[in-house]
Amino acid sequence: MEIKQVFRTLSEASGVSGYEHDLASHIQDSCPWADEIKTDKLGNLIMLKKGHGTNPKPKVMLAGHMDEIGLIITKIEKDGFLRFGTIGGFDQRVLLAQEVVVHAQKPLTGIIGAKPPHIQAPGEQSKAVSMEDLFIDVGFDNQEQAEEYVRIGDIVTMKRDVLELQGSFMAGKSFDDRAGVAAIVECFKALSQMSHEADVYGVATVQEEVGLRGAITSTYGIVPDIGIAIDVGFGDSPGLPESDTLKLSQGPGIAIGPHVHPKVHARMVETAQEWNISFSLDPSPHPGGTDAYAIQVARAGVATILLSIPLRYMHTPIETLDYEDVKRTGRLMAMFIAGLDYEFVEGLTCF
């Protein structure tokens, strides 16, 4: 099975934080290599691939969040236009003239509009249209027509098909962090051809964008020895300093910083070097924005690491990545897991 196609399907599917249920079935269907699959009370999808060793076996958790940022309807105007708030961080400047899907009684096509430029005051064009002046046009003529389908609190996603750019570059919505989920599936697929001692829990986590919440409960349930969060990292793009970014097509960033266990980091780097998998070192002095941060402090503490897939234009509907980086990330994790034994895991508490 081509996991890239799975990734495409996941990207185009909808799953705003707290509303990820439709995604779980897509992921489940695309990962036949799991021995057991379950969901927890928050909706985390947990796929277990059992290790070949005898107990005690290392337990590795891979976490990629399946939720995406989105919008929520806050008001239906008299003339049928919809007002909205955000779930997760949006730059107000990327919203104008976007096509969206309002997940109402039936899915509705909408367009994010604002008052037209020709009736704005001079100088207004140099200002961003502020979030509160934006609205969604669902093509209804009045409140009654809209209310037939739309309720306050309905969820809105960006309407965006995946685009194939040059080479293996792709652009689309919610690559943050369906790319991480795809990397987990790539890892499972690779592991199915390998012998590994460790039990591997691939988790598509929920509600990362609103506070790493799915990682908190899923880690508590799994009790892993090692937690690997796979998220997206800022890809190199014009206007961004090189030191803040990861170069696309050069493999994942391997994080180093307070939320990364030094021995896991060292082993991950050695693995990449041994198997000739390209990577970037990703210094991370201010951790906090990924599932790794939550996994690390679960129960009595977990040795964690963060792998970041380079991604341009994060939190926009045209996030761009090189799919080869997703594959490299999956392969690196598989090689790392295949090399694990219980002795290594035991050493993680020895400082």
Partner: protein, 341 residues
């Protein structure tokens, strides 16, 4: 679906070929003569040698778009608009670039790396770049040439209550009306000018009119509608769903007042809902047509469209049908007058 085909075709000012070919194929069975001129206007003639008034319909084929003006060292493409485009609508959109129709995206800095005040400021055209996923300048240069065009990628779709969204409704909606109207049976000469380069200064219309020498001309347009929240009603210009609009004045023309009155009277008689375009800004091909030779009687009939000159605009199918009925009734009226002669 005619409007889908027309709006999904690409045609920047001066590069209307794809739209022209599409229109030519659509109208061929219904006209006696088709010709193109030195600028690329497509002129379709019905009953060239018949007696009676020479009636011209005009709709422009071109749309606003982006021209590639530079390729950066890292393979990103610099662009400038052809026609009026507010850079704020370009952020985080997809485009198709050049003859090879290469997919690209217009990216922006991630919110995480911005400082709050940055988000109050609009991106400028100079800051925005197209990313086609090229690894470097050499790869980009193999795929895209300077002067090639990037187009919006919006698909035509019907939604809401009798609405449709698409790119380039300004003025493919006019082209669609003209194509349909060419199927009207009339005895007098009916000529449609599918014009070029309207968006960069009404360039094609004058040239076309000079050749056609019409007795009367109707311009078919997609015009701005500002009937959206945050806009006072007196600034709406036009209202989507309130019928086609008839222009009484804009920046480029004062349509022939008796003709305008005739159209309003006709709409009332035929019970076609129409509205006055309540804005004096903007210009259409009528501006050039009326000044051709010793002057031409002209009127503009337009379908209101929200968010024109952006990747996606919205119109009412009712308004579109209303515009068709109004012009068709006008042609029928002329036909009856001719028959009585």
């Amino acid at each position: 679906m005619l409007l889908a085909r027309l709006t999904e075709a690409n045609g920047a000012p001066g590069q209307e070929g794809e739209v022209r070919d599409l229109i030519r194929a659509e109208i061929e069975p219904h006209v006696h003569e088709i010709k193109t001129d030195a600028l690329g206007n497509l002129i379709a003639i019905k009953n060239p040698d018949s007696p009676g008034p020479k009636v011209m319909l005009a709709a422009h084929m071109d749309e606003v778009a982006l021209m590639i003006v530079g390729i950066e060292g890292n393979g990103f493409l610099k662009f400038r608009p052809i026609g009026g485009v507010d850079p704020r609508v370009l952020v985080a959109k997809s485009v198709l670039v050049g003859a090879k129709k290469i997919s690209g995206v217009i990216g922006s800095k991630p919110i995480h790396l911005q400082k709050a005040p940055e988000r109050e400021r609009a991106f400028t055209m100079q800051e925005l770049l197209i990313d086609i996923g090229a690894k470097n300048k050499e790869e980009a240069e193999r795929l895209v040439k300077l002067g090639e065009i990037a187009y919006f990628t919006t698909k035509y779709e019907e939604f809401g209550h009798d609405k449709a969204k698409a790119k380039a409704l300004d003025d493919r909606v006019g082209c669609a009306l003209a194509i349909r109207l060419l199927q009207t049976e009339v005895s007098f000469p009916l000529i449609v000018a599918f014009t070029v380069q309207e968006e960069v200064g009404l360039r094609g219309a004058g040239v076309a009119t000079y050749q056609i020498k019409p007795d009367v001309a109707l311009v078919l347009e997609g015009t701005t509608a500002s009937d959206v929240p945050g806009t006072d009603e007196h600034k709406h210009a036009t209202t989507v769903g309130a019928g086609p609009c008839i222009t009484v004045i804009d920046r480029a023309s004062i349509p022939h007042p008796p003709l305008v009155r005739e159209l309003f009277a006709l709409a009332e008689e035929e019970e076609i809902k129409v509205q006055v375009r309540r804005n004096t800004a903007g210009g259409t091909d009528a501006g050039q047509i009326q000044l051709s030779e010793e002057g031409v009687k002209v009127a503009t009939i337009a379908v209101p469209c929200r968010y024109i000159h952006s990747p996606v605009s919205v119109m009412s199918k009712d308004d579109y049908e209303g515009a068709f009925k109004l012009v068709k009734s006008y042609l029928k009226r002329l036909q009856e007058q001719e028959a009585r002669k």
